[in-house]
């Protein structure tokens, strides 16, 4: 399954398939699919859309890597949404409350974000490891609970600005300067954090012992156990890691643009993360591609109102892409395995010495 064909064919197929399906839907509702696509592409060049795509892709990348770490060992961290929001909230509260020199301040905030995310995910991890509670259910519950907790924290530690409730404005020392591109907007400085996390993730999974154990646990928990992998420890650490990275996802926006956490903090990052990780096959580059695609669809869809096409078409497109991509992967995987078995069969046939050379021995 290591050929480029096997890697690239499925997403390409999926995107084409979804595009065809959505075109059909568009045609039924009387819109021109080509014009719609052109309009969406054109939108990238307008205003700050290009930069917004990059910025949001950064956040998406982080949540998707958080999801991918879980997927590597068949853990489904549906709680990314809650971890991301809660971590953003707590980090913003801390950021607004302390005063530290520039740099150190932001570093502290990043650490607080990661720790909060990890801790919130850790509840699910502990419940799974010690009480056998499915992480799917516990993280769903934790997502909802995080909403209440955030509301509580914002009320107690936050302040009111006009009609919006938010945490205290973060002083300049806590901010992370971005890369200003004039009228095109400002790329968040913490997008670099996403890049770093990506590199770290790639190294971790491919080159380290921990990464190997992670993958092994996912591919076959029983084999991993027999191979000395401590499954409890793996579940715990993988969930903590996943939560920590999820906890970073809200920070680029907060430290780069909003300078506060308000109760209007965007929702839906968690599920986007799951979908993007699937799309990118948990591969560091694949996920990057997925994050950019997702972000592009999100941002460019803002223009669809302009040409009278319902924005919802993009949600349908996203859903179809996810489904189509996994189907395509499965089909390609089956074909590749059959091909490989044929190859092995051939190799064995040509090298066939004797079936039973075991007759003679000492």
């Amino acid at each position: 399954m290591n050929t480029w064909r096997a890697r690239l064919l499925p997403p390409a197929l999926a995107i084409v398939f979804s595009a065809v399906l959505c075109s059909a839907v568009l045609l039924i509702s009387g819109a021109d699919p080509i014009a719609t696509l052109l309009e969406m592409v054109a939108q990238v060049g307008r205003g700050t859309t290009a930069v917004d795509i990059i910025n949001t892709a950064g956040a998406y990348y982080l949540v998707a890597i958080a999801a991918a770490i879980g997927f590597q060992m068949n853990l489904l961290n549906i709680g990314i949404e809650g971890q991301c929001r809660l971590a953003a909230c707590v980090a913003a509260i801390v950021a607004g409350a302390v005063s530290l020199p520039f740099g150190l301040h932001a570093a502290l905030v990043v650490v607080v974000g990661a720790v909060t995310g990890a801790a919130w995910c850790g509840i699910a991890a502990l419940l799974k490891v010690y009480r056998g509670v499915s992480e799917v259910i516990s993280t769903i519950m934790l997502n909802t609970l995080s909403i209440g907790l955030i509301a509580f924290l914002v009320r107690v530690f936050g302040e009111m600005r006009g009609n919006s409730q938010g945490t205290a404005i973060i002083p300049d020392s806590g901010l992370v300067p971005g890369i200003p591109l004039g009228g095109a907007g400002t790329v968040f400085g913490l997008v670099l954090l996403a890049v770093l996390v990506g590199v770290g993730y790639a190294l971790l999974v491919d080159r380290t012992r921990y990464g190997f154990e992670l993958r092994a646990s996912g591919l076959s928990p029983t084999a991993a156990r027999a191979g000395g992998v401590n499954s409890k420890r793996m579940i715990l650490t993988a969930m903590l890691l996943s939560g920590a990275i999820a906890g970073l996802a809200g920070l680029p926006e907060i430290l780069g643009r909003d300078h506060t956490f308000t109760v209007n903090f965007p929702t839906g990052y968690g599920f986007a993360g799951l979908a993007i990780a699937l799309l990118g096959r948990n591969h560091p580059l694949g996920v990057a591609f997925g994050a950019l695609l997702w972000s592009f669809l999100d941002k460019s869809s803002l223009t669809l109102d302009n040409i009278g096409v319902p924005k919802e078409i993009v949600t349908i497109l996203q859903g179809t892409i996810v489904l189509a991509v996994v189907v395509a992967y499965e089909l390609v995987r089956r074909r590749e395995l059959a091909a490989e078995q044929r190859r092995v069969g051939k190799a064995v046939d040509t090298a066939e010495p004797v079936a039973a050379s075991g007759g003679e021995r000492a």
């Binding site: 700050t48 917004d52 910025n55 949001t56 914002v154 006009g162 009609n163 909003d258």
Partner: protein, 356 residues
């Protein structure tokens, strides 16, 4: 056996109607001269292109988005606007989506651009300075210091005060309820005013109040199921007039009220005439009107005249920016009382709190 509609009686352990205090006397008749703009002939604005960025819900939400639509439509009819472009928001969208929406309108030459909802506040602070030649307005948020932004804000607490007075007078148990959608500062203004009004009219009154969700969980504006349960709870506790500020969850409130044969007060626009809740018409005795339509109309007219100073600083009872509706004729008997309170608020005799 089939439960016949309205069979339940809400006044189970009732304690009878309230002892009512007299309406404030001696207040001079309210300065009915509404706004200055109203009296002038509508200007011609046929060349004007108006951009509108809606909050979640958009055109047809039967709430504040729709109220601004009403203002736009009237402006178009009276002043002949050249073009109107409306853009919708998505649920839970990030800040940059709002910015993009505003920029998009400004860049395409729409002027003025009206941002509906306080959610646009931060985005507007950022975008407005980028387009100094474009005039912006924002509904429901006070933004100062940006010269090309006009805030259009309302004294919801004053309108809700009147709703409180209505409720106190109409309650047969001297027990009323308030259902808030999401516990945000804006909705708390409704609660504060309602309570103050009810207490002013009947100092002994019992008031239930409950929010569907805490701040940040905006599903409270979208969950009639919960609205219905909360209202039922209040009705069973003895309340018999319920005022809601719960967006689309209000449907559930009306449903519960109708089931119990009690009375309800609507919010924002005249819900008696609203098609989406037409089936509950008969229990809606009044609505607290928040005249976003008026604000939008005034603002467009002011832009057309190129004189923004005529836009009121705050749309309050004094200029009928917030008021009550009488459709259905259920509170015709209260008109004088209400107008007395109105006058007292307008001339400062009564100060309505905006925090509970």
């Amino acid at each position: 056996a089939k439960d016949t509609g309205g069979g339940g009686d809400a006044g189970g352990g009732g304690n009878g109607p309230c002892r009512l205090s007299a309406p404030p006397a001696g207040a001079p008749a309210a300065p009915t001269s509404a706004t200055t703009t109203e009296q002038m002939p509508p200007p011609n604005a046929s060349a004007m292109r108006v951009g509108v960025a809606f909050d979640i819900g958009g055109r047809g939400d039967a709430s504040f988005n729709d109220a601004s639509v009403a203002g736009l439509d009237r402006a178009k009819a009276d002043m002949g606007l050249g073009e109107i472009k409306e853009l919708d928001a998505g649920a839970g969208e990030p800040e940059d989506a709002k910015q993009t929406r505003l920029r998009q309108l400004a860049r395409e030459g729409f002027n003025p651009v009206i941002a509906v909802g306080y959610a646009y506040a931060d985005a507007l602070k950022l975008v407005a300075p980028e387009f100094p030649g474009t005039k912006f307005a924002i509904i429901d948020e006070q933004i100062d210091g940006v010269p090309n932004v006009t805030p259009l804000v309302f004294a919801e607490e004053q309108g809700s005060f009147l709703a409180g007075v209505v409720a106190a007078h109409k309650s047969e148990n001297c027990h009323i309820g308030f259902v808030g959608g999401v516990q945000t500062p804006l909705i708390q203004k409704f609660e504060a005013g309602f309570e103050a009004g009810a207490k002013a009219a009947a100092p002994d009154i019992k008031i239930e109040n409950e929010y569907l969700t805490p701040a940040g969980d905006f599903s409270g504006f979208q969950d009639p199921n919960k609205g219905s349960e909360v209202a039922t709870g209040q009705l069973e506790a003895g309340a018999d007039v319920i005022y809601h500020a719960a967006g689309a969850s209000g449907k559930g409130v009306f449903g519960a009220v109708k089931g119990a044969g009690a009375q309800a007060i609507g919010v924002d626009s005249d819900q008696y005439h609203q098609p989406t809740v037409a089936e509950y018409k008969d229990v809606i005795i009044s609505s607290m009107l928040k005249r976003i339509d008026l604000a939008v109309y005034d603002y467009i007219a002011a832009v057309a005249r190129n004189d923004l100073s005529t836009v009121p600083k705050k749309f309050d009872v004094a200029i009928d920016g917030v008021t009550y509706s009488t459709s259905g004729g259920k509170i015709d008997d209260l008109k004088t009382t209400l107008d007395a309170y109105k006058a007292a608020i307008a001339n400062g005799q009564i100060q309505v709190p905006d925090k509970p």
